[in-house]
């Protein structure tokens, strides 16, 4: 039997195209991913959203809105804070006045806006990249020409309205800008409420000036950190890891071609050599077992090369459990081997079908970009059973569970699922490969 294993391996290796291409595929694609994601590692660094702003008389009159825009667009934070504090200064004047006489609504709301703009200004990050337009028509024309995706118009009461193009409707960029405006409107409303109902707030505001603003009570509590990011998983999640895992799963799918070819070669339908091997005076079980073990060795080695390349050349993080990764690869290649052998028992099915099957199953693993990933997630959530019978999904899940979970239970679960698949398909393949079947 040892010699059968040996010659299976040799004959599979001799078909250079079959051994080289799957490995080359993984190496090439992981290099591609490496190049693509090298800039995405700091994807959290936010790029400012471009937005048009109509700079008409209404805009100029809405002073606090102007300073809010200045601060979020990173335009000279000093100038912004000066304007802001000027507004706050104004507010303290007006509130002083209000205690003496009936305030006009205009001054009260202006002062409120002044404070509002200061309160919203809690970060120095550049949120938007404004493009200025003289009139609504000019902004609309720019939107029509696809120069901008959205623009802000301020009405005579100082309320901003965001106009978005149908293209940007529902995009995350629009969501960022509209949230920013929401925040402004809300702070404005809150300050107004407090101004009219809370003497404490009015007295706190009147105590503010440019000199003490930095050390004021408002600054003190609003500078607090309100939420704290929790490291919940065994390893920090990494958006690019998913692509590499899916790629390994695809390689595992492609590795089916080894056992498929080997299984074909011992069938009488595979020409004279197949017929001779069927008639050989060795127990059929030994031939089948030898062929399966031989192709498993090839599949395992090709996956190991892919894995080692990713681990050491591309430096993909597998969660620091390399030993268990190798166990996972051994199990996954057993699965791939037995499915391939099963397919190989159908003489009419071409070996090329392996590529197609792998491609299809990889769709549900999420190899093809975010749209495919959300489809995969959707299926995982709505039809977990369907997903769990996808051998390639189980393969990626092996690496996932090693990376994210403390316990080894999910890893063990996926291993078990793969072993069950391997056994079922192997049994079916062996039954179909028996001598009397043909």
């Amino acid at each position: 039997m040892l010699s059968i294993i040996k010659y299976t391996v040799i004959s599979l290796l001799r078909e250079k195209a079959n051994i080289i291409w799957p490995i080359l595929f993984v190496i090439f694609m992981s290099c591609l991913f490496y190049v693509m994601f090298s800039g995405m590692e700091n994807a959290e660094t936010y790029t400012a959203q471009q937005v048009g702003i109509v700079k008409d008389q209404n805009f100029e009159n809405a002073m606090p809105f102007v300073s809010m825009i200045d601060s979020v667009s990173g335009r000279s934070s000093n100038a912004a804070s000066e304007e802001g504090s000027a507004a706050v200064g104004e507010s303290s004047d007006s509130t002083k006045a209000s205690s003496e006489a009936q305030p006009t609504e205009g001054t009260a709301s202006q002062s409120a806006e002044g404070a509002a703009s200061q309160l919203t200004d809690d970060s120095e990050a550049k949120i938007i990249d404004p493009v200025w337009y003289e009139s609504v028509d000019a902004a609309q024309e720019a939107l029509q020409d696809s120069q901008i995706d959205s623009y802000i118009v301020v009405d005579s009461s100082g309320t901003p309205t965001l106009y978005v193009s149908p293209k940007a409707n529902g995009s995350i960029g629009t969501e960022v800008i509209s949230s920013m405006l929401d925040s402004y409107v809300q702070t404005y409303s809150q300050v107004n409420t407090l101004m009219s109902t809370s003497p404490e707030f009015v007295s706190m505001l009147s105590g503010l000036s440019y000199d003490n603003f930095e050390n004021s009570e408002i600054m003190k509590w609003s500078a607090n950190q309100w939420t704290q990011d929790l490291a919940i998983t065994n390893h920090a999640p990494d958006s690019s890891a998913r692509y590499y895992f899916a790629l390994l799963a695809m390689a595992c799918g492609m590795a089916m071609s080894f056992s498929m070819m080997a299984a074909k070669s011992v069938q009488p339908s595979d020409g004279s050599l197949g017929a001779r091997r069927t008639m050989a005076s060795i127990p059929r079980s030994k031939v089948i077992l030898g062929v399966l073990v031989g192709s498993w060795i090839c599949a395992f080695c090709s996956l190991m090369i892919s894995f080692l390349f990713m681990r050491y050349v591309i430096s993909v993080d597998f969660g620091g459990r390399d030993g268990l990764c190798i166990v996972g690869i051994a199990v996954a290649s057993a699965m791939s081997c037995s499915i391939g052998a099963f397919l190989g028992t159908f003489p009419k099915i071409p070996v090329a079908i392996v590529a197609a099957i792998s491609c299809l199953l990889c769709l549900f693993v999420g190899l093809y970009g975010p749209a495919a990933q959300s489809l995969a997630d959707y299926i995982t959530q709505s039809a977990p059973v369907l997903q769990s019978i996808n051998p390639l999904w189980q393969t990626t899940n092996l690496f996932y569970s090693l990376m994210y979970y403390d316990t080894l239970a999910p890893f063990g679960g996926s291993c078990m699922a793969l072993i069950v698949m391997a056994v079922v398909f192997m049994a079916a393949a062996i039954v179909r490969m028996r001598r009397q079947m043909v």
Binding site: Q186, E200, N224, S239
Partner: protein, 391 residues
């Protein structure tokens, strides 16, 4: 003509490939595009994250936070144990998970009274996309508003939350701007974008396989002795290759139009037209690449792998799967040397063309033309290679 017919018979003889690549992969495109939202474009769409709240406190403040998150996200249910949390993070079930620790409400109020350090909410923010981060900013804003009411408004928990909810009910006006042209439905665009892969894979495999069979030594020798001029034979073979490309294109296009185009064909015929043309140009490039592989004499398994790798490379470099803006600038520069970039440029911009004028459509047609030129260039190269190999 008989060469053409024979060639088509060869393609039909290998219909398993057409079935596997064209049918299966195009159905994958259908599966990917189906969940795309397709609301009317005149109403404002929201890009809401998925979020989960684990409330260990149960105070009025924590309920307020829960309510606010529920209003501003799609809530998902997650159990309060480490395994479930890890599971949700690993599978990215929720873009934003917030854990409200026990006693949060009380210590929040206490902090507001004394202006001491505020208690913190624990969050798990998904690594994918910005919506989780945006949600965090919103929740922070909500907490600050409640804090301010509690500190200056003389409010207890219930009052602070009631006032805060009233405040956050004020939102900025967002309107969809009027544009002359209607954008093409999102799902049709998504389907077309995914087709970059099935089109390339199916066409290159079928064309290269056809060439492989035609270049088979005995077949070739027999054809060589037929009373047909070399030029005529080559033209017929090339037409057969083109036919394969057009059939694949037609299948993809008809499927897309039937399932996803909706009213787009009526409301924005020019845009859809440009999109279909760009797909056609891309199909013809795929034909010439398949022709090239065939001329190089690649085996069946090699052409399979090349078709798959090539299809994926095209899809990744054109930015239809992952936006190019998220990648390093070098990738963008490289992609300009690939036909897919020009295809995607025409296709995506046509989908959201704000106005249909000569000035806006002409550059798109220019992109389609560049894509087509790639096809011509590759075809020319493969003719030269064929000549060299023959001699």
């Amino acid at each position: 003509m008989s060469v053409f017919k024979t060639a088509m018979r060869i393609v039909w003889g290998h219909r398993t490939y057409l079935l596997i690549y064209l049918l299966l992969l195009s159905l994958m495109g259908v599966a990917v595009a189906a969940p795309s939202s397709d609301e009317a474009s005149t109403t404002v769409k929201r890009n809401l994250p998925t979020a989960a709240v684990i409330d260990r406190d149960g105070s009025v403040i924590s309920q307020g936070v829960c309510g606010y998150i529920a209003d501003n996200s799609t809530l998902v249910e997650i159990l309060d144990d480490t395994m479930a949390l890890q599971d949700a993070t690993a599978k990215d079930t929720a873009s934003y998970i917030v854990i409200i620790p026990q006693g949060y409400g009380e210590s929040f109020m206490e902090s507001a009274a004394t202006c001491s350090e505020v208690p913190k909410l624990q969050t798990v923010i998904s690594y994918s996309g910005a919506s989780g981060y945006l949600m965090d900013v919103k929740v922070t804003q909500y907490l600050k508003t409640a804090y301010e009411y509690a500190r200056y408004g003389n409010a207890d928990q219930a009052q602070a939350i009631a006032k805060t909810n009233d405040t956050v009910s004020h939102t900025a006006n967002v309107e969809v701007a009027y544009t002359e042209a209607q954008p093409v439905l999102e799902s049709f665009k998504a389907y077309g974008e995914f087709s970059v892969y099935p089109l390339f894979a199916s066409i290159t495999v079928c064309v290269s396989l056809l060439m492989l069979k035609l270049n088979d030594k005995p077949v070739k020798s027999r054809m060589f002795y037929s009373p047909l001029s070399g030029v005529g034979r080559s033209i017929m073979q090339f037409l057969a290759c083109l036919m394969v490309g057009i059939i694949c294109w037609a299948w993809i296009v008809v499927l897309g139009l039937l399932l996803f185009a909706g009213d787009s064909l009526a409301t924005s015929p020019v845009q859809v037209g440009v999109m279909l043309l760009s797909l056609l140009a891309y199909s013809l490039v795929s034909v010439s690449i398949g022709f090239l592989i065939g001329q190089l004499g690649a085996s069946e398994s090699v052409s399979n792998v090349v078709a798959n790798i090539g299809g994926m490379v095209m899809a990744f470099f054109s930015g239809v799967w992952i936006p190019l803006s998220m990648m390093p600038s070098g990738v963008l520069e490289v992609s300009k040397f690939l036909p897919c970039y020009w295809f995607a440029n025409a296709f995506e911009n046509a989908a959201s063309l704000p106005s249909v004028t000569m000035d806006s459509v002409a550059p798109l047609m220019g992109n389609v033309g560049i894509c087509l030129l790639f096809g011509v260039a590759i075809f020319a190269v493969s003719l030269v290679i064929g000549k060299v190999r023959e001699s």
